[in-house]
Assembly symmetry: C2
Homo-oligomer: 192 residues x 2
């Protein structure tokens, strides 16, 4: 059986990664998310083993030292990491695995898995991103300012990514993400 691809989806907070990812998985057979482990507290309705693996800081540190993460990152005062064994199990079953991770994690994945496919989702503009974060209503003005600052920094990593998708309308962005996944499945891998 053909091994599935490993796909990284990054982009600023508020750009719409969660919505795009849900729609994409509905639309393209053979694509799965990988659970992320995190030290942050569950938000209302979030479940361990469904939304995230919620680990204590001590557990997280132990997993790092045991090499159990494909990548891990410190972000917004919390740790996030991708358990390697979950990724490998899914790929071995022929499934494409998508990781929704921050830029620093994306670049770690590139180093450990050179054939990983890195997709950056950008907003049409930072002003549109500011409007979306405001409309979401979950962040204070200070948090929004901080997210916009982080967004600008993250966008500097775009040249290290493979694909750039602008999330102007959800439908077009999902269609383009689908196209990237299908195209990559048809790609002929070069040896060496």
């Amino acid at each position: 059986m053909r091994r599935g691809n490993l796909i990284v989806l990054s982009g600023p907070s508020g750009v719409g990664k969660d919505t795009l990812l849900s729609r994409l998985i509905e639309r393209v057979p053979g694509v799965v998310k990988c659970l992320t482990a995190t030290t942050r507290a569950p938000r209302e309705g979030e479940q361990h083993g469904v939304d995230y693996l919620f680990l204590s800081p001590e557990q997280f540190a132990a997993w790092i030292s045991q090499g159990k993460f494909l990548e891990h990152a410190h972000y917004n005062e919390q740790y996030y990491g991708t358990p390697l064994h979950l990724v490998e199990e899914a790929r071995a079953r022929g499934l494409d695995v998508i990781l929704k991770i921050e830029v620093q994690g994306g670049l770690q994945v590139r180093q450990r898995v050179p054939e990983a496919i890195l997709i950056f989702v950008q907003p049409p503009s930072l002003e549109v991103l500011r409007q979306r974060l405001t409309a979401r209503g979950t962040d204070s003005p200070e948090q929004i300012a901080s997210r916009l600052h982080i967004a600008e920094q993250e966008m500097r990593a775009i040249p290290h990514y493979d694909y750039l998708v602008t999330n102007d309308t959800i439908e077009e962005a999902v269609d383009l993400l689908r196209a990237i996944l299908l195209a990559e499945r048809a790609r002929i891998r070069k040896e060496g």
Copy 2:
């Protein structure tokens, strides 16, 4: 303006390249074919400057010596070539240019234009190809046998191509070709 991509579409005679290409151009805005120059005689209904540039062997040889071809090939006792200036004009206008050319021409394009995107269209099997060539009714049994032999040789070049598309149903193959074109437009070009 973003420069258009250069795309090579190759595959055995009878695999359905012409149909796929017509459907693809209907479906994806901003994609054009490039006229091919050839020394072969026009088939019924084919027009100079519309279907091909029909050149005499003397004219063709002159164009070669003047470096006017992006690639040229000798195939089925005739010459075929892609005029460089037509490709460059279209790409400069932001159009993706698709060349329907044989494998030997495709590999020449790769050498001269390293960023070219090479797509190989294969039949579901050689037996299916034999059936399609027979159904087309334009070739003698000897010609069909010759085309199948050439097809086998051409398929050895697949590892040099970037994408492999199996033409099982036209709709699925066109959808995949469209996906490849859209994905490549979203690809972030690496410098160097």
